[in-house]
Amino acid sequence: MDGMTFGSTVRKLVVIGNGMAGARAVEEVLARGGAEQFSITMFGDEPYGNYNRILLSNILSGQQDHSEIYINPLDWYKENSIRLHSGARVTHIDRAARVVTADNGVQEEYDILLIATGSRAFIPPMEGVWAEGGRLRPGIFAFRGIDDCNAIVAEAARSKRAAVIGGGLLGLEAARGLLNHGCEVHVIHLGQHLMDMQLDTAGGAMLRRAMEGMGVQVHLGKMTTTVLLEGEKVAGLRFKDGTELACDMVVVSAGIRPNAEIGSRAGLTVERAIVVDNTMRSPDDPHIYAVGECVQHRGKVYGLVAPLWDQAKVFADQVTGANTGAEYLGSKLATKLKVMGVELASMGITEPASDADEVIQFSEPKRGTYKKLIVRDGRLVGGILMGDISKAAYLMQAFDRDSRLPDERLELLFDLGAPPQKVTLDEMPVDAQVCNCNGVSKGAIGACVADGARSGSAVMKATRAGMGCGSCKGLVNELVEWFCGGEAEEDPSIHYYVPAIPLAKPELVAKIREQGLRSVSAVFAALAPQGEDAASKPPLASLLATIWAGEYEDERDARFINDRVHANIQKDGTFSVVPEMAGGVCTPAELMRIAQVAVKYQVPLVKLTGGQRIDLVGIAKADLPGVWQDLDMPAGTAWGKSYRTCKSCIGTEFCRFGLGDSMGLATRIERRFRGIDSPAKMKLATAGCPRNCSEAMVKDVGLVAIGDDKWEIYVGGAAGAHIRKGDLLCVVEGEDAAMQISGRFMQYYREHAKWKERTYSFVPRIGLERIRAIVVDDADGTAEALDQAMLASVEAAYDPWKEAVKPRTANQFADVVQAEMVGGGDD
């Protein structure tokens, strides 16, 4: 493909390094019309497209997945006619001939060469760390690229105890990530406190407590001298003070070293890194520029992304001629720690440099809150925020812009009085940086809105704001709202009940009733402009079951796999089986059958669930019917968007405090509502007294006995991904009333909630007062209808495990169907 001919004005731009800086520099060039001026070639020695290195921490912790961190997929290179040599390492620059050579033999000529080789992990000298051939010994890892990340994850799965050498930003992110893989994690740090580049002693100590609270053990003031081995395997670390720590894997995160050798070999000035001037050009060669972590500018080498965005802009302004006056003048550094469970932001210096520096400090160690600001001549020169970082965005801007701080210092640390958000947005200068990862300013967001983007998601897509570590998403949304004068448009489809049908739930329900649509296919045929849509099927199936109860035509293909085989799919494609145990109670005979099933089917795991029952985990699809038959217990519906369980405490039966028969009521509830479809899970609980042992106050519906046969009914509680104390809907007398009001509430919720909207969102959305008016006081005169509809659903419910003997669809439980061959040969 080298036969392209270039017009005489097209110059050749070659980029060494396909990392965050290299790729961004090319994007900036393209944004300035560079595609017409240059033919662009990139070399990257990682065999991938360009990805967001920052997010590797999230991959390690399992919060994100590889495919989510690519910035530019391979198509992007194609679309922009960029030739990418991936997996090719440039080894030689011939400055006289203006040719670079890669280790796979590829040669490319250049008019402009950009070096963006980044840096690598620094491995401090330690005995035993290297294996033959200059590789790290198996069991020892650096943390820099995707490959490192994969290797660490694989090893962590086998490992019992991991040591991370280095208690800086990256080391702590690595340690937190390792915890999620179930190993014991130790951080070994040379300094006297964690993150000593960004924190003072007090902040470091508090961070240590936070890390230890999560289960990471921290060892300070330890210099590792030796990796101890048992045969070829890592067995531990020895420190300079003679102490040792046993461990079976080691992640080294002790700083970075710029990949600058390529520059020195080519005769460019290299000190700590490749030296550049304010135009990002090498002082030795007008054809060579450098950006990113491999660069030294005014004596400084950076290890964060913000500076390299600025560098990339200056480079692009220069080489495209868009602004030949552009200069890079250095960056101020502010960081946020991306450790789940720790809120920490830090900027500038950590200790006052002289008595003239003013220090404003607040500390509440018990709550893990620490705030410290260093002010010089009325301007922020340093800051640490831990625990509560609500003021971080404002302070980081003030720091970055060197702007004058308000005289009322307390306001710097706390939001006083009314929420000053609006004021802050007004006051925020146009060029204040909002997204530090992608270098997007308030002005850029405004411009994007002016260009027609009317929603947060549209702006994020267009500007990339919020697409890095994500910590600024809230602020971006607020700014979009602000720029739209409070009239940011929502994407209209967010109001649709399902993506395929442009109707909100009430209109959709009306149409379905009006036209008598009883199956999902019928709904698609009548109402979906584009016809069938896979993602819209389960919400429609659930809705139809609610509307039509027994007269709903159950097309199994519209159901998620869990509802086709009545069990919960697991990561390896096997299923979990949870039989019903109303009120958490089962008979000895049932317990024995469960045990027999576990033995007979070699069930890999028998577990008590958080829902007070027993889970048989890891069952092949083909075994499900057998398991159900042998169990001879009703399904616990632990898999669907439906009524799930009613937990209970021991109640009046045995407890000395019991005021109501919580076990009995839970059993009645379970028997009545089991198998009822709903927009999202409905989890209930009954408690025999307000001690609330069964956590009834944080359930979708919770019933708490308060004596004299009275029950409090709480709704909209949650203690899962969100925590919310349920709202007290009413107090009723007697179990029957408790069942009736609970059922009426659930029916109202079934009819009005959005798909997957749990009651913890639904109740605040509709408002407790309104719900009470309808469900308790019957203000709309609909109570009777709600009760009837619920009764119809109760009567239509059936035990799906009965399909063990009467499958509903062909090969319903087959793991695999054998095929026969009819013909062969070439066609």
């Binding site: 099927k537 086709r564 169907v817 095929a819």
Partner: protein, 108 residues
């Protein structure tokens, strides 16, 4: 170089319910075979390239399948990812005159 393509009759159309998929073992190889509401048939590799999810258990419509584990969605004709960089292998599939599903599988 021509690769030997073998046509396999994997079973009657009725072995797969409308709008669902099933796994078939075809000449020692496992494939996910889908049947749409319009009685079109498609065949893809068995496992999702993301983390090995069972594609035959996914929800489908007339053109795509959603992996049941993490919702990565693939075009049933081309195998291209709709919301992902991943892609799956597809195999030509059709319904024969005798009402049997026929899948073409290369021999390797």
């Amino acid at each position: 170089m021509t690769e030997a393509i073998l046509k396999h009759r994997v079973g009657l159309l009725d072995a797969v319910p409308r709008g669902e998929g099933r796994v078939f073992e075809v000449a020692g190889q496992r494939l996910a075979v889908f049947r749409t509401h319009g009685d079109q048939v498609f065949a893809t590799q068995e496992h999702c390239p993301h983390l090995g999810g069972p594609l035959a258990d996914g929800l489908i419509d007339r053109g795509t399948v959603i992996c049941p584990l993490h919702d990565r969605t693939y075009d049933l004709r081309s195998g291209a990812g709709v919301n992902t960089e991943c892609q799956v292998r597809t195999y030509p599939a059709s319904v024969g005159a005798d009402g049997a599903i026929v899948v073409e599988v290369g021999q390797d």
